[in-house]
């Protein structure tokens, strides 16, 4: 019991000291008071129609930074996520999810009905985060994470056999995820192709025209602002993340006994 008191006092001291240093002691200065010089650079260029050779044409500075200013960084983050998923798929290679009927599994009827009501709302929220990622806070990864909650809920509430009943198998998820990754890869090279066709200088992952590379992806469709490549990256990343997480949940939900049984069976054969 005395150990708890010592720990509590230590934690309280740490909290007070850190709060003091960060706010009043001048560590980071008071919060919210001004915009720092680095932020001013981004905010003054992210949507600046008066400077067409140095802008992203997106009012959402965070998405602009993530997919344009430092787009390669995000590209390789996506590659890391891709490799992590491939690792889990490799661990579970050859393990067959046995088909069964989903009747009689899962939680009570009340939970199932509430989940059925929640799922359309969840899809709407995720879609709006993805499709408005270049206008309001959000983006591909955020939307994918919100959408990935749905297969998780389905597995927990309806049992994993339900996913097989609605034909969301591991392989379909892998295909849809690859479609998303392919979308990102193609979007990377679109400006280069446009540049080659028109004989202009262009960079990979370029979005709007730069001073020495006048290739621009369309910033508007009709009257709607789509910010060139940002909406394509967001939608592709949304697909890749949603189905990447789905694969992990499908694999994790396979019963341990089933996995061991199949692995042992394989060991005898060879």
């Amino acid at each position: 019991m005395r150990k708890d008191v010592v720990v509590a006092i230590c934690l309280a001291i740490v909290v007070v000291v850190i709060s003091y240093v960060v706010t009043l002691g001048g560590g980071l200065g008071p919060l919210f008071n001004d915009v720092r010089p680095l932020a001013t650079v981004y905010l003054s260029t992210t949507l600046n129609t008066f400077n067409p050779t140095f802008t992203v044409m997106s009012p959402e500075a965070v998405t602009a930074i993530v997919w344009d200013y430092r787009g390669l960084d995000t590209l390789f983050e996506t590659a890391v996520f891709y490799l992590a998923i491939i690792g889990s798929v490799a661990v579970y290679r050859g393990i067959d999810e046995k088909l069964r009927v989903s009747e009689g599994f899962g939680l009570s009827k009340i939970v199932k009905v509430v989940t059925k009501l929640l799922i359309p709302m969840n899809i709407a929220v995720a879609a709006s985060i993805a499709l408005h990622g270049h206008l309001t806070p959000g983006g591909g990864f955020q939307a994918g994470a919100a959408m990935a909650v749905i297969p998780m809920l389905l597995i927990v509430v309806f049992s994993r056999y339900f996913l097989l009943d609605i034909r969301l198998s591991r392989n379909l998820a892998l295909v849809l995820r690859s479609v998303g990754l392919l979308g990102i890869a193609l979007t990377v090279f679109i400006p280069v192709v446009i540049g080659l066709v028109n004989g202009l200088n262009a960079y990979i992952m370029q979005n709007q025209a730069k001073a020495n590379a006048l290739v621009s992806l369309p910033a508007y469709v009709g009257d709607s602002l789509i910010s060139g490549s940002l909406i394509m990256y967001n939608v592709s990343e949304f697909l890749a993340v949603t189905f990447g997480f789905s694969i992990v949940f499908i694999l994790l939900s396979i019963e341990e006994g089933l996995v061991k049984e199949q692995m042992r069976g394989e060991g005898v054969e060879h």
Binding site: V7, L11, V15, S19, T23, L31, F32, V62, T63, I129, P137, G138, G139, F141, Q142, A145, A146, A148, V149, M152, V156, F245, V248, F249, L252, S253, E256
Partner: protein, 83 residues
Amino acid sequence: MELTYLLLAISMLFALVATYLAVIEKNLVKAVIYSALQSVAFTLAFYLLKAPDIVLVYLPITVGVYPAAILFLIRKTEEVEET
């Protein structure tokens, strides 16, 4: 401004308590729930610090995806940590 600081302090203190409980808890399922509670407090703090992009990704990941993944893993091992 003062209200923002106050809410920030309350949410971070709540997060600290939840983190401490998550660390000392021997029952792993309860520890995951404490960890999710800590994440909720962090989400509020991120919102108050004007980082809505982080809020949108932090909430589904730390309250939905991460506890679910950890619970799946706990099901494959033991529920109570041995001393």
